[in-house]
Symmetry: C2
Subunit: 140 residues, 2 copies
Amino acid sequence: MTGFEINHKLLLDSHRLGRFHLCHLLLHNNAALPWFILVPETDVEDLLDLSEELRIVAMNEASNVSRFIKRELNYPKINFAAIGNVVPQLHLHVVGRRPDDPCWPAPVWGNLTETIDYSATRIDEITFSLAQRYGLDAER
Amino acid sequence: MTGFEINHKLLLDSHRLGRFHLCHLLLHNNAALPWFILVPETDVEDLLDLSEELRIVAMNEASNVSRFIKRELNYPKINFAAIGNVVPQLHLHVVGRRPDDPCWPAPVWGNLTETIDYSATRIDEITFSLAQRYGLDAER
């Protein structure tokens, strides 16, 4: 999509890791739990309004991120959501959860008060693993 | 799936409307906004762990409900989520939202304090419309 830009509020809250075929991949700034955000290159605002073809691609890319979180980061549970009441640009939350995380069992949105920063090294490790085994085209 | 049963906590919070090919359809008891819950007949607990084939069916059925909410109930925005931290059985939330709803722009989970009951007539109207035009096999 020509001229596609990721919403600035999403970028303020996250680190930009790269992209899959359809979706850009962001990592939420808060390292208290693994919280990824996929931004498909589309101007459709609701996941369920996407064409079936694009929705399949977006969900497969979200599924790659889910597998990464489960296998590499050892979180047994994934919370998945497309909300977008504040930022209308379509974006998909893929969040690793476990009973010892800082806001279990509440959903993260509006409830995650603990804040931890990622180190640059940790972001590089995550990006490298996603690029090696989960189809991410890392940002140069 | 033989012997499939919907989790009793989901049933306590909702009215059972019927089913699509894969998913049972529940309507959350709280009529403050249109909140539907799809329960696919599967023992997989995370949406992103479903096979691609089943996930496509589940998402298409959720998309039917989304179209119903937008076209028939006049809500312009849909919040979609698979959370399941409290009830592990896979269930998909499809929630109609608009700026004048009682918890906009917060997500409904944990934030919807206003409670309104559905009348039996209203539940019948919703079920009828979903069955007539959106592929629901209504409960007899």
